[in-house]
């Protein structure tokens, strides 16, 4: 894999939900430089440039990570903790995708520094709107702190 700039890293084990997210981003012209991985392990490899993603540079961090909470084996929360524990990656914005508000409470209870969350609504239009708002905020409006 070449070291292309990455805007959004989507970590989602459900391919249909991944497609929904991708279509929602496309609908709002936010899908450029979009990468999708299916597992927490792949997400860590991607962020820390290991394994399949060893040719990447760690400085070329995604502008935002959309991270599903409920992933097999390594959960979204585990991925988030590892990203936050490393000086080089701790500032990457992470938005958690959850299926309920209760799950959001659980994540917040962990104090692992989440930048946002999307409760996946049952309705696609609402989901697309949430994805658009979050994507727009982190890709267009947000300015990351300048690197020292």
């Amino acid at each position: 894999m070449t070291d292309q700039p990455v805007n959004i890293l989507l970590v989602e084990d459900n391919p249909h939900h991944a497609e929904l997210a991708m279509r929602a981003l496309k609908m709002h012209n936010l899908a450029e430089h979009f990468v999708w991985v299916k597992t927490g392990e792949d997400a860590i490899d991607f962020v820390f440039c290991r394994g399949e993603f060893a040719s990447r540079k760690i400085d070329n961090a995604p502008k935002v990570i959309f991270l599903d909470l409920k992933l097999p084996k390594k959960s979204g929360l585990d991925v988030l903790k590892e990203i936050r524990a490393d000086e080089r990656t701790k500032n990457i914005p992470v938005v958690m995708l959850t299926t309920s508000r209760e799950q959001k409470d659980i994540i917040e209870g962990q104090h692992v520094g989440l930048n946002g969350y999307v409760v996946k609504p049952d309705d696609f239009e609402k989901f697309a709107e949430a994805i658009r708002n979050i994507g727009y905020y982190w890709l267009v409006l947000n300015q990351l702190p300048k690197k020292q």
């Binding site: 996946k120 049952d122 696609f124 239009e125």
Partner: protein, 392 residues
Amino acid sequence: MQAQSTDLQTLYDRLRESEEKYRRFVENAADIIYRTDGEGRFIYVNPVSLRIFGYTEDEFMGKHYLELFHPDFRNKARQFYATQFFNGQFTSYLEFPAVNKEGKQFWLGQNVQPLMENGQIIGFQAVARDITERVLAEEAMRRSDEEVRKLNAELEHRVVERTAQLENANKELEAFSYSVSHDLRAPLLTINGFTQFLGMHLGDKLDEEGKRLLSVIRTNTQTMQHLISALLMLSKTNKKELEMMQIDMQQLAQETYGDIISPEAQEKIQITIPEMPEARGDKLLLRQVWSNLLSNAIKFTLAKDERMIIVGGRSEEHRNVYFVKDSGAGFDMKDAGKLFGVFSRLHSDTEFEGTGIGLSIVRRVIHRHQGEVWAEGEVGKGATFYFALPRV
């Protein structure tokens, strides 16, 4: 001399008479009466003793009193009497298991007195009575008391065990319904999204029938969404810890009505929400109660020409009663018991939409507040839903 001899004769006669009386008394007594010598060997037993122990008088004479005791009790009896006489006690009472000639065991209660002469014990006399019935009754009582205690302890243990099992089962059920509800949402989002993509993908190629088919899928997806949300709400109703506070029920009912009524429906419905007694309860959950009752009232009233909803409340001795009365479709009172069950519906989807969970949420919330719910209605003439909360 003659006179002296007559006096002696009289004295003798009296003595004989007195002895005779005493003998008859002893021999006809219902109790065991016996005498022993200073060593405790029998020198006299009354007929009752013979009958009860089954020995002949000859067999009795010379026997040691301890031989009448059950072998296991002899040492104890010996110690008891030794202590008694050593301490100079004149009489004693002892209950003991005795054995008759045939080896049959029975219980005696026995009074013993030492017979003294010149400061020396020359023998003992005893009166004993068969107390087997009483002892056995006491033993049975003790045993049954013990059994009752044991049964009680066992029952208590079982109640604790069952309660724990029930609590576990409830928790598991809650976790199950919660996780099912959440996991059901994931495919629902997919169905919903892909139906929309299909519509967009086919665009103009979609004919009327195609549009209808997609619309059926979408409508059913929505129904499923409502069901899942309602199930989640029901599960939350059970889990949420009650945060009790004073609540202005008029204000709460008004606010809730304002939140749920659509502008179009608002124009069609006439509603009265007067002042009501304050309630003590969990505001979030009681808002849900008002919301479910008022939505029902709106739903059933909109279908009628006369559209009126009356909300109210009154104070009774120990409780406050609140109600929502509508002029809607009503129900048959014979179905009143079914109203508050989960998934129980009295109207079909084509008549009125609904999940059949709303009223069970109402009941669950009110029961958690130690209150009651009930309803009155008549087909075509509207319904009134009541809930009562304890006055605190």
